[in-house]
Amino acid sequence: MKHESIETNAGLLIVLTLIVISIGGLVEIVPLYFIDSTIEEVKVEGKDTIRPYTPLELRGRDIYQREGCYLCHSQMIRPFRDEKLRYGHYSLAAESKFDHPFQWGSKRTGPDLARVGKKYSNEWHVQHLTAPRSVVKESIMPNYPWLSRNSLQYKDIQDRMRALKMVGVPYSETKAEYEANVKRFGEDVAKNLDIINAEKNLLAQAESGNYDGKPEKLSEMDAVVAYLQVLGTMVDFSKFDEGHFAKFR
């Protein structure tokens, strides 16, 4: 192809430019899909301990995205000493393998939330989300009072799970898929990953967890708090040597 024909043809020039500048990105990204240690294997007693979200947690995650919490909060603890001291163990790639899209973020107006699960009580989260300044005087986080007022919509929960299944999250629909999950995650977890029983499971978790402190109402608050309370809690790091996860890099 002659130089001149590229330079005098804007369409062709754009296409070829795009190809050239994407090479740098592709060379860096594509191999990661093939390298074995990109995503750490995290097994305790033969079972994967990192699991997809339960239906209730999944709804909480959707609301987290709807409200734009990620604009102020990252979910990625980097391997630095100051971050370890403040937030805990650095995040593993495996911990966001079922997140589509992941919530790593890069903007920290508020603290990182990757390990906020179990750090506070449910009551604290409800109070804090409703009126942050009632617990943290100098907070600049917005109030989210409607989370308690809005009833949780969950009729489309099966569709939401199917959509994620299409991009590789192992929610089960068939008996064989369910059996595979039992083998991979254990029976208790597998039950919650079953699409057919999603509504029933969602209601059961909300009832037993009573996240918003109001058992009579299933609100968006229930889902958001259930989601926040599971963040960063799936890996029990006491089960692994301190240097174990450094081997994957």
């Binding site: 191999p31 617990v135 301190e242 240097g243």
Partner: protein, 305 residues
């Protein structure tokens, strides 16, 4: 555009032309630019050799002559190729070594020994302040004064779960769940009103004598309050039931009440609605040493017992 004079004599053109007379010069790159470019190429090659760089199938080159040796907290020494996670472990090791003398001292000392040693307690204080701000202040507030009705004040001398070093350490390690039941429906409105009169009388408030007398009966029999708060109403630390005889309130906002009627309604509200609240467990999230340092700090805050 440069003068056409120059274009003819010194600089070549690419030979392309547009609209008849628009030409493109082919100026040589300045030398400083060219050599900087060559330098970046050399840098990249050196980097590829020293650091993890090239993918090969399912693995990648790990870099040579650039190993990291670190020692973990439990004393294992590991040598590995350069990576940021190992770098963190090395960093943690160096920090541990720098603080080692103090940390060893803290771990080996009893709480009394820390309290009586100026250097040790100064170290514990400075570390505890940061830990408290990161982990506890969201509930107990930055100064530890808490929020009445929600999170207990750690500065005062009253302890729901005990103020000894051992008890505070237990509280922080395993967490606590405070459960005052709701008496809505179990006691009538009048009974709750009476028992509130009685409860307030215990801490020296002037109340209606007849109501107090009726209230005492509710407290000891119908309400069964003594089962948890004790016959003397001083509370029991094994279940965190509040002492009702001191002037310190943790849930009912009696100090904030303006009138006698407000005080009573604050107590009635607690008895009517009950209160459930949770202090999270910190085992696993904080190390044993960190919990020890916080225990010392909280104990000193509240002039613990």
């Amino acid at each position: 555009m440069m003068s056409s004079e120059k274009s003819k004599s010194t600089v070549q053109t690419t030979g392309h032309s547009w609209d008849g007379d628009l030409q493109e010069f082919n100026n040589p790159l300045p030398n400083w630019w060219l050599w900087t470019f060559y330098a970046t190429v050399v840098f990249a090659i050196v980097y590829w050799i020293l650091y993890p760089a090239w993918p090969i199938g399912k693995d990648y080159t790990k870099g040579v002559m650039n190993e990291i040796t670190y020692t973990t907290a439990d004393g294992k020494t590991v040598t590995t190729h350069w990576n940021t996670r190992a770098l963190l472990l090395k960093d943690m090791q160096q920090a541990r070594e720098a603080q080692q003398q103090y940390l060893k001292d803290i771990n080996a000392s009893s709480y009394e020994q820390i309290r009586n040693d100026e250097e040790k307690s100064a170290f514990a204080y400075s570390m505890a302040k940061v830990l408290f701000a990161d982990n506890c202040a969201a509930c107990h507030q930055a100064g530890g004064n808490g929020k009445i009705g929600f999170y207990p004040n750690l500065l005062d001398d009253a302890w729901l779960w005990g103020g000894s070093f051992e008890k505070i350490q237990e509280t922080i390690t395993n967490g606590r769940h405070g459960a005052m039941p709701s008496f809505k429906g179990r006691l009538s409105e009048e009974q709750i009103s009476d028992v509130a009169e009685y409860v307030l009388s215990l801490s020296g408030n002037e109340m209606d004598t007849a109501a107090v007398k009726r209230g005492r009966k509710v407290f000891t029999t119908d309400g069964g309050c003594t089962a948890c708060h004790g016959a003397d109403a001083k509370g029991q630390i094994f279940m965190g039931s509040a002492n009702l005889t001191d002037k310190i309130w943790t849930i009912a906002d009696v100090p904030g009440a303006e009138s006698a009627a407000d005080k009573k309604s604050a107590v009635m509200q607690v008895v009517t609605n009950g209160k459930q609240r949770t202090m999270p467990a910190w085992k696993g999230r904080l190390s044993d040493t960190e919990i020890k340092i916080l225990t010392f700090y909280v104990h000193q805050l509240g002039s613990g017992k």
